[in-house]
């Protein structure tokens, strides 16, 4: 192995410990990083949920004065920002990190240290976004930050500047993670696993990653622009000097609509793993599901202006965007029918992950149907910015994305921890969440059609919205109890451990072929893949004979064989014969801390920028000069 003669002075030794806080700070193991993502995102989920509860408390009755208008505006701004950027995205990232390498038979992601960097940036960016709760000046311009209401003229506090900077840090994290998973999925598949033998979850990760890499720069630019407007007095969105508020909307939604698919495609991937497993049947129409996922991601770039039907685009543009938006219903419908067909004639095991996945289809369908109502622009003129829209996207993002994420948590928990989550309590959690969710959000359809606008901190009794709001708030309470029940389930299941074993669900994909929890190196031997759902056919080779024409893509294809052969050859080349895993490193943490401090310093002052730059440069220099593995026999397993 080549070693570099360049070193910079180490202040800390390279981390080696296997436990304790330093082992987490220095970790580059995709599973540990996945765990960090998951726990952090869940904490933000509780924070965002608390914000939602406060909103519901305020709206439970007319003319309520529980929360001041300013605080209310901060709450809904941070609820939206938190749930999108700090909960659903990183929850998906937790699953990407944990299961993409396992599903494709790899020992880690392509760039383990960059992976750690993504996590730390996510953590610090999230903290930056929430600094305002302690300074009393939280972001208050809405998660969509419409200019000029978010500009310095009409919003003089520091909140929206922290918002712009915090989201920029999160954006860097997302782009880095997206790049990492694109390379991982293209380059690190086990021999024989051609693209069309990959599990659907991995596929959806790939599509999501491509969306991230292409969409985040757009919001990044918009954030830089509003940030320089606020900090340095540029004119991008300063309407007094000719800046165009509608340009911000185009930028935000050109990012924002692909973002919607960034949130929902991983959920679709999770469901596409859970439904076949508990139906004991392959996914119906694998390629239809994959291509409709790609189709949704592609069409997602041509629909953004449906968020702007009331802005005054003119009838020609409105018609075009109405039609393109409706077109998305087609691949989405295909997916829903394929999932249902997967269950038809299956052997459906009814348990917590399955119930969550089934609920995903049911709730997502409702969100999809109300989505078509928005796509029809004249109809949308009455719905835009009302509680009907709030109902719609919560059916998509809670009923859809979060139901699938909970399905994923219950499904993969035994693999991640080695023990099962209690199924009886789990079904209770599912019931409370589904009930609470529908109680909370179904009435919002009525409220919207009865003319209740979004983002209002109060309403009068003469507007006629009291009883439905009270019902929605009650639903929120039930939902919150459901979340508490989930925490109880975790606590209970940890105390009363039921060991899971390698494959508790009789599942189909490679992650179930290794121990639970998986060893540090994942696969003692890198598997060689012959079929889609290879692990399933290893367990049931006799099923291969019952194939019905839609073969599970048997081995073959020159690419696979070539990869296979060179792989063998390569093994022989390996002098050690051991497993090399990247060593731990503090530098991603340092680099992320430096970047965050440097960017936060734009608000705090030049010395913080200098400090951040020094730490950041130290991290990046150390990183680029530090070998992935120290040439030390100790690292071999």
């Amino acid at each position: 192995m080549t070693t570099t003669t360049l070193t910079i002075p180490r202040i800390f030794d390279r981390p080696k410990s296997e436990s304790g806080i330093w082992s987490w700070i220095g970790t580059v193991d995709h599973k540990r990083i996945g765990t960090l993502y998951g726990i952090t995102a869940f904490i933000w989920f509780l924070v965002g949920g608390l914000e939602a509860l406060l909103i519901r408390a305020q709206l439970a009755q007319a003319d309520s004065e529980i929360i001041s208008p300013e605080t209310y505006n901060q709450l809904f701004t941070m609820h939206g920002t938190t749930m999108v950027f700090l909960v659903v995205m990183p929850m998906s990232a937790a699953f990407f990190n944990w299961f993409v390498p396992l599903q494709i038979g790899a020992r880690d992601v392509a760039f383990p240290r960059m992976n750690a960097l993504s996590y730390w940036l996510f953590l610090f960016g999230g903290i930056l976004l929430n600094v305002g709760w302690f300074t009393g000046d939280s972001p208050n311009g809405g998660w969509f930050g419409y200019a000029p209401n978010s500009g310095i003229t009409f919003n003089t506090g520091s909140g929206m500047t922290f918002w712009a900077i915090g989201l920029s840090v999160l954006g860097i994290a997302s782009i880095a993670a997206g790049l990492n998973f694109i390379v991982t999925i293209f380059n690190m598949r086990a021999p024989g696993m051609s693209l069309f033998k990959m599990p659907v979850f991995t596929w959806m990760t790939l599509v999501t990653s491509i969306l991230l890499v292409l969409a985040i720069p757009v919001i990044g630019v918009a954030l830089i622009q509003i940030g320089t407007d606020r900090l340095y007095g540029t004119n991008f969105y300063n309407s007094l000097n000719g800046g165009d508020p509608v340009l911000w909307q185009h930028m935000f939604w050109l990012f924002g609509h692909p973002e919607v698919y960034i949130l929902i495609l991983p959920a679709m991937g999770i469901v596409s793993e859970v439904l076949p497993t508990f139906s004991r049947k392959p996914l119906f129409g694998y390629s239809f599901v994959i291509f409709s996922g790609i189709g949704i991601a592609f069409l997602g770039w041509f629909v953004w202006s449906h968020h702007m039907f009331t802005v005054g685009l003119g009838p020609a543009a409105t018609s075009a965007f109405a039609i393109s938006t409706m077109a998305i219903a087609i691949p989405t419908g295909v997916k829903i029918l394929n999932w249902m067909a997967t269950m038809v004639r299956g052997s459906i095991q009814i348990n917590t992950p399955m119930l969550f996945s089934i609920s995903f289809i049911a709730m997502f369908t409702i969100g999809g149907l109300s989505g078509v109502m928005h796509a029809s622009a004249p109809s949308d003129a009455q719905q835009q910015d009302t509680y009907f829209v709030v109902a719609h996207f919560h059916y998509v993002l809670f009923g859809g994305a979060l139901m699938a994420i909970f399905s994923g948590i219950y499904y993969w928990w035994p693999k991640m921890t080695g023990y099962m989550l209690n199924d009886r309590i789990g079904i209770g959690v599912w019931f409370l969440m589904l009930l609470g969710f529908n109680l909370q959000f179904a009435p919002m359809h009525w409220l919207g059609m009865d003319g209740m606008p979004r983002r209002i901190y109060t309403y009068s009794s003469d507007q006629g919205w009291e009883s439905l709001n009270a019902l929605a708030s009650l639903g929120g309470l039930v939902l919150a109890i459901g979340i508490l029940a989930f925490l109880f389930n975790v606590w209970y299941s940890r105390r009363n451990r039921i060991v899971a074993g390698d494959d508790p669900w009789n599942a189909r994909t490679l992650e179930w072929s290794i121990p639970s929890p998986p060893p540090h190196y994942n696969f003692a031997e890198i598997p060689e893949v012959q079929y889609r759902d290879d692990f399933w056919y290893q367990k049931y080779p006799e099923l291969l004979e019952h194939e019905d024409g839609h073969a599970p893509a048997p081995a073959g294809g020159q690419e696979d064989e070539a990869a296979h052969e060179s792989h063998d050859e390569h093994d022989e080349h390996d002098g050690h014969g051991g497993i090399h895993l990247p060593d731990m490193s503090y530098y991603p943490f340092l680099a992320a801390a430096g970047v965050t401090l440097g960017m936060g310093g734009l608000m705090a002052g030049v010395w913080v920028i200098v400090l951040g730059s020094v730490i950041g440069m130290w991290g990046i220099m150390g990183w680029s000069l530090e070998p992935v593995n120290d040439p030390d026999p100790d690292v071999e397993h």
Binding site: A106, V183, A563, P582
Partner: protein, 220 residues
């Protein structure tokens, strides 16, 4: 079996026997994907510039400040740096120490010259009354070209590190991939400049005061 634990390090080593599913090195694929991301980044800034074309409420307007001949020279300098980059990669791959070193140095030097041109240009504009706060043209012009300048700066620093590594012997013909990836970035930044030059300095250079806005009068 072991080598499937693919890491950055293995890719850096440029081991010829090293394999990925696509056959492309991880880091090269990373750079290509990053450049796709960067295309969206610059594309959005350029789109902003074009959307705000002829929408400044006060001067100076492009025709009042832009100096095409001088920028043509700096553009030529940057183009030549790409040529130098090609030569540098060629010689480093070949293992020719002297020419390799020379052309890496020339590439970085030309990048620095371009940056000096940009700094002088910015100063001139500020003296003539155009800052990022003056009007929409100032805002979009400075941020767009400034972000590009930042990219060039990062490229120059990267090249200087590689040059140092070449002296120290950590950049050799067997890991010329390091330089190749830096080269991908460098050529991309160069291409972006061609687009910016075309749009800002050729297409919009003659834009004066839009209808309704006062003409710009030079003071002093």
């Amino acid at each position: 079996m072991a080598q499937q634990a693919i890491t950055e390090y293995h890719a850096e080593a440029n081991d010829p026997t090293y394999n990925t599913s696509t056959g492309l090195s991880n880091r090269k694929l990373l750079m290509w994907a990053f450049l796709a991301s960067d295309v969206m980044f610059f594309g959005t800034f350029i789109a902003t510039y074009l959307v705000y074309r002829n929408r400044s409420l006060v001067g100076p307007y492009p025709e009042d400040v832009l100096d095409i001949p001088i920028t043509t020279v700096s553009t030529f300098v940057l183009l030549m740096s790409s040529l130098a980059m090609v030569l540098a990669l060629h010689y480093v791959r070949e293992g020719s120490k002297g020419p390799g070193r020379l052309w890496i140095g020339v590439t970085a030097f030309l990048g620095i010259v371009f940056l000096i041109f940009q700094v002088i240009e910015f100063q001139t504009f500020v003296n003539e009354g155009l800052t990022p706060r003056t009007n929409l043209f100032g805002t979009t012009f400075f941020i767009l070209t400034g972000i590009h300048g930042t990219h060039v700066t990062i490229g120059v620093v990267w090249l200087l590190f590689l040059l140092y590594g070449h002296f120290k012997g950590t950049l050799r013909s067997d890991n010329a991939l390091d330089l190749e990836i830096a080269g991908l970035y460098w050529h991309f930044v160069d291409i972006v400049w061609i687009v910016i030059f075309t749009i800002v300095y050729l297409v919009t250079a003659k834009d004066g005061a839009p209808p309704g806005a006062p003409p710009f009068i030079h003071h002093g």
